[in-house]
Symmetry: C2
Subunit: 241 residues, 2 copies
DNA sequence: GTGATAATGTAATCAGCGTTACAGTTTGGC
DNA sequence: GCCAAACTGTAACGCTGATTACATTATCAC
């Protein structure tokens, strides 16, 4: 092990694992790069870092192994580049969920649907597995994942909760903690069971039901003391909680 | 790939990956088995399934590679045996948390402390990473993990919530969902950040603070309509929620 | 066109590691 | 003590896969 590592460190110098950022890249190379990243995502998400092999990635992307090494340095570099790119890409929909402002529970349901819609996507599930298992070996990955994903959603959601609080329709002394809890209640352990393959991705009806239950609980957390006149009863399943 | 797999399947027959269960095992072998499982846990938890190598495990356990193969068949068999054993072992403390029955919030804080105490242990974190990443390839593992861990805690906790509900001190129409939500609020995304190495394990004070906040939120979910006279205000940090 | 440069395809290198074979050693019943 | 069976240690075997070397081909400014 030591010999190979040494060699690699010498070679990569300070830019180990970094995608080369030299000025302009030719458009042809840019296309290669995108294709390789796409193929890498498929393979890494399906197999995990160790089981994935570069041959399979090259076969799918159609390019050549040499190009891959020129662009990404080595397997780890490709891996980090792919995960980083996917994190910002997949989570884009989380930062600015396109949800109509209606009564609070309807809006919260909308946000929850957007949230679940993103994290249940196959590539988001793949990201999750990789972040959980490889986070220790690649510390930059969870960093990016949380910054681009959960943290952005939490910031956005907590802004909304502040609005509710100021308007007096909800009681949210600590909006960040409340937003965090919202996410936990919504993805619930359902997400773990889906990601591990114990359960299939729920269909729309089941998902809607689950979300109604989660939002109902969350509403009880932030509901003002007098009870929530602003929350339409129809949006809250009475059989949950 | 096909050749090797074929060979393995032929060899292992119907008992692939199964620990041999023939009648009595000699006490010497039993000791070997325990030592190998212990070493395997260390190595697998540190490296993950693929990166782990059997040589390192044998070196730590002190036995011989032959014995390992006799006992566990192959790497996968050892892995599955180790994870299965650890799941039932680590989670034992979850099934019957030894928590004094006091006012609800104090009791819930006690349960939460027991919960976090278990899942923050280094081997429990290792289990989590492995279940998340290898669950798809080894479907029996998440099965065991959830059955022995979360499900037992949820069952136990929901019994307690039923008691509260019947006594009229809490409003819990669906105790299973409520128990599930309790776990989510308690481990929170804090757990993700610890498991991925983004944050260190919180010290006692920070943990207690976190748990107070989580229990306070949970209490608002199950609090009866009139408000909770049964919950000591001292147990609930007012700055959270 | 033409030559310098960039990009590709292929094959070789090289180490790591799961697995197996086998020869030696210990154990426990008689 | 002795012998079958269980156990151990070591050294191969074979394969996979990351990495590199190199010869070939495309690109583009002039």
């Amino acid at each position: 092990m030591s010999r190979k590592r040494m060699k690699k460190v010498e070679k990569m110098d300070g830019t180990a694992g970094q995608d080369r950022q030299e000025a302009e890249r030719s458009p042809r190379m840019e296309a290669r790069r995108a294709a390789i990243l796409e193929a890498a995502a498929e393979v890494f998400f399906e197999m995990g870092f160790e089981r994935a092999n570069l041959g399979a990635i090259v076969r799918r992307s159609g390019g050549s192994l040499s190009t891959l090494y020129q662009l990404f340095g080595n397997k780890e570099g490709l891996f980090e580049a792919m995960v980083t790119e996917r994190c910002t890409d997949v989570m884009k929909a989380l930062a600015e969920p396109d949800v109509p402002l209606r009564d609070p529970c309807t809006t919260l349901c909308g946000i929850a649907h957007a949230f679940m819609g993103v994290i249940l996507r196959p590539d988001a599930q793949g990201l999750w597995r990789i972040i959980m298992s490889e986070g220790i070996k690649f510390p930059s990955l969870p960093e990016v994942y949380f910054r681009e994903g959960p943290d952005k959603l939490i910031a956005h959601l907590s802004e909304y909760l502040v609005v509710l609080h100021r308007a007096g329709v909800a009681d949210v002394p600590n909006p960040m903690d409340a937003a965090r809890s919202f996410c936990m209640l919504v993805h619930s352990d359902l997400y773990y069971r889906v990601v591990t393959g114990m359960q299939p991705v729920p269909d729309d009806a089941a998902l809607a039901d689950h979300i109604r239950g989660a939002v109902a609980m969350f509403w009880r957390i932030i509901m003002p003391a007098g009870g929530g006149k602003t929350c339409h009863p129809d949006d809250i399943s009475p059989s949950r909680g």
